[in-house]
Symmetry: C2
Subunit: 344 residues, 2 copies
DNA sequence: CTGAAAGCGCTAACAT
DNA sequence: ATGTTAGCGCTTTCAG
């Protein structure tokens, strides 16, 4: 590889001058600088990020901690979409990303150790167990951190507005005349807790009393589990008129179960998902769901982390709420008298 | 951060000895070495990958070039699944991965330059335009390279067996009594060319003559395009009995179109996908499709690249074929006399 | 068995 | 406006 020294020799200048020219220092003769840059380009010079890091302590590398139990976080559309936008936004700002993990050949590294080993300038954390001591070690470390969909005290975060999401769904259902609303929840995380709280609050605001048997503990991204919960709900004497699922993917398990019973969607029973995966628009009927703005979440998280890295003094680790929007699909029946005329 | 020098001082030894102890050199007193390792652990020592790289020229970093036109390669299940297994297998071997891209702040870097900038030890290339001069520059460079689903001369590759895949599908269709087989192809890539060649070859072997109007140029991952092609096929006087789609995702566009015409799947028309995405098992009817072994592809590609990196002399850049398997779903009707009794 | 010293490619004082 | 120099943290001959 051609290095600064080579350029210096070719130009008959010192390596210091070349270094300065390359990064556009002001106290160099503009012409010399320009000439150096031309020669550098001509010789195919590419800076060595590691060598630079050693001196500057800046890797221009962002760590991404993105794991779930099944280690398939990348395969869930919500997360892969966030990852994709983190990647794009990072690159736009001259950063690369590095996945933080435990594995390092034979040796085990904690998340923090891995981050240090690779000298990342900061870390974005999502889709993990935020109670994990190693995750806590990481957020409490010297490294700038941004969490997604979780709030620690004094740690910057970007969260999808789950409270508003559930609120929008329920208000929509109510406007469509639904009163018997069942809710299959996801794993017991802070996101789930917010959704449940918002569920009860919004139902209360609408003077709805929800039977306990309409609330089922479910799991995220496990259609089978939602299918079973659906079966239980369909077995009730007093069936709900609509079922809310933890996510669009799980909802598919519900559909299978519902069709197995010979019920039609939405004529016999209505369903609502969450996330707004691309597929929700592709299937027929189009799924009624709350579309999370995953792309925006990734962008905001990245911007915030870079701010934290580059301007630690002036950046306050705050909380950014990203709102989505209801997708009125075709899986919720209008039960009101005035037919089509529900609120838009 | 604690560094080797700190450990050396604490142990009253030289940094050279500590360095040796840490990597298990033999000519050190085993007891001293053990003691050093204990102290290192106690002090929370984590090596600095960049500093090491500067000396050893090894980053233990694998570059991944994974882009498509829509820059959403990560959002296609086939590719995200490959990426996921590349990541897992890399980590298992002590490597991290770095996405190779063009973007680097304001400055444009070619793929090769980016790879050099980050000092990756090798690159895995998939889902890109292999005619791109920059991709060619990369594979022809000094960097070890493995391509996925494409063959260059003398470049290691791992490819999904598309010839066998299409062959299996067609033989299955024939066994189910289908003779009028329509094929919506994908973008004009080498993968598509192989599938088309295999299509004609296998049809020939089965003495089937396929009308030209049954072959439609389509696109990968664009349900709309497949939907339009489907409409054209359904408008034919002599309709096909089955339609093969470029991928499972596109097939959904076909389903929508078919149902719009009031046709039932598979009673009125049969359909077959490609890829075997998780969803294909979740929908009802279960989709008949060829399941590509994407996980295995990622593992093989990573193993091969690491071999190339670590044993360049003894590793020959060959071609690995990864085969998948037919998923007999519920979207192909049995047209033979003997009813259910088709070949298994 | 242990240590001294050079140097990987680059940056940033500090001269000149 | 340009050059000298001292490291960043680590590995690796080569001496002792």
């Amino acid at each position: 590889m051609v290095k600064i020294k080579d350029i210096a020799e070719r130009c008959g200048l010192s390596i210091a001058s070349v270094s300065k020219a390359l990064k556009g220092e002001s106290d160099l003769n503009p012409k010399t600088a320009e000439h150096i840059r031309e020669v550098a380009k001509e010789m195919g010079y590419v800076p060595n990020a590691s060598a630079r890091l050693l001196k500057t302590k800046r890797s221009y590398n962002i760590g991404v901690l993105f794991v779930d139990e099944t280690s398939s976080g990348l395969e869930h559309e919500y997360f892969s979409s966030i990852l994709n936008s983190i990647k794009d936004e990072s690159e736009k700002n001259g950063y690369d990303i590095t996945f933080i993990s435990h594995h390092f050949g034979q040796n085990y590294l904690t998340f923090y150790e891995h981050a240090k080993y690779r000298n990342v300038d900061g870390v974005i954390i999502a889709s993990v167990d935020f109670k994990d001591p190693e995750v806590i070690e990481l957020v409490e470390s010297d490294l700038p951190t941004v969490t997604i969909d979780y709030d620690f005290n004094d740690v910057a975060s970007v969260v999808s507005d789950n409270v508003q999401g559930v609120r929008d769904i329920i208000n929509y259902l109510v406007s469509m005349g639904h009163k018997k609303i069942a809710f299959i929840t996801g794993d017991d995380t802070s996101v789930t807790q917010k959704r449940i709280a918002s569920f009860y609050k919004t139902c209360g605001e609408n003077n709805l009393v929800i039977k306990d048997e309409y609330i089922k503990k479910g799991r995220y991204h496990l259609p089978k589990v939602s299918g079973e919960a659906t079966r239980e709900l369909l077995a009730l004497d007093d069936k709900p008129t609509v079922i809310m699922y933890p996510d669009d993917y799980s909802l598919l398990g519900g559909i299978t179960e519902i069709e197995k019973h010979g019920y039609k969607i939405p004529d016999d029973i209505s369903i609502v998902g969450y996330d707004g995966i691309k597929l929700s628009r592709l299937l027929r009927p189009i799924i009624t769901t709350y579309v999370q703005n995953s792309k925006e979440i990734g962008i905001q998280a990245t911007k915030k982390l870079i701010d934290l890295i580059e301007s630690p003094r002036t950046t306050i680790p705050d909380r950014t709420l990203v709102i989505g929007g209801l997708q009125e699909g075709q899986t919720v029946k209008n039960l009101t008298n005035n037919g089509e005329g529900h609120l838009k």
